[in-house]
Amino acid sequence: MPEGLADIATIVLTGIGLVFFLAGTVGLIRFPDVFSRLHALTKADNLGLGFIVLGAGFQADDWTQLAKLGLIWALALLAAGTVAQLVARAALRQEGRE
């Protein structure tokens, strides 16, 4: 792919990714309770990272760099899904105690 096109793809995709990270942060601030905020953080940030990984992928020199980017996203996805459950469960228990 010509360099110019790859750069445009990177700019557009990472730009979209940043919008989703912003959405996650806006949700974190605006949403009314712990659980709703967790929705915003996990879902929007996961998608934001996905777009940034895609965008960065257009700058990769070989397949191993692509694969590393893919691994980063997969690991973050796994961590986000797991941590969201743990935080939600902890928050629920605390609510029950009060």
Binding site: G27, F31, P32, H39, A44, L71, G81, A88, R89, A91
Partner: protein, 161 residues
């Protein structure tokens, strides 16, 4: 050693070897180290997480596109609600009876947390507690569909109610 454990060890060896190959690409010394690291990781993995219900890998390939589409929809949905001035939320709780085992339940919870409008918050006995962003969007049906898909990924398929 049981057939199930044997199969899981082969699967995990392939996956961990691939990951190590990516991480150590271009470094011959690092690749040689993989001959120690990969078997050690497989051993630790089987010790910590014994293979009970092996995944059906070909079903996983069918499930992945639906998961990706769902997680994109989830991100777009929550971004729309966050940015909208009126902030359309109608949060609440669902109690979803489950037949799934522990591992499958954790996988379902992780997945639900990325799907539109649902968030798993542990379970109460055999009932999965799911927080939903919008009770009007009929989230219950989506949760049950996800649970059925996760159940179909393992073998043998859990007994229906």
């Amino acid at each position: 050693m049981s057939r199930v454990t044997m199969k899981a060890m082969i699967h995990r060896t392939v996956v961990f070897a691939l990951i190590w190959a990516v991480l150590s690409a271009g470094d011959p010394a690092g690749q040689v180290l993989g001959l120690i690291v990969v078997p050690a990781t497989v051993w630790l993995s089987v010790a910590l997480l014994p293979a009970r219900n092996p995944l059906k890998l070909w079903r996983l390939t069918g499930h992945t596109p639906r998961f990706l589409v769902g997680s994109v929809a989830g991100g777009v949905d929550v971004a729309r609600r966050a940015f909208a001035p009126s902030m359309p939320l109608n949060p609440g709780w669902l109690r979803v009876p489950m037949q799934l085992g522990d591992g499958a339940r954790v996988a379902l919870g992780a997945e639900l947390s990325l799907m539109p409008g649902t968030l798993a918050a542990g379970s109460d006995g055999s009932v999965l507690l799911v927080h939903v962003l919008d009770l009007d969007a009929e989230p219950g049906r989506a949760v049950e569909a996800q649970a059925a898909e996760i159940a179909a990924l393992t073998d043998p398929a859990p007994e229906g109610p």
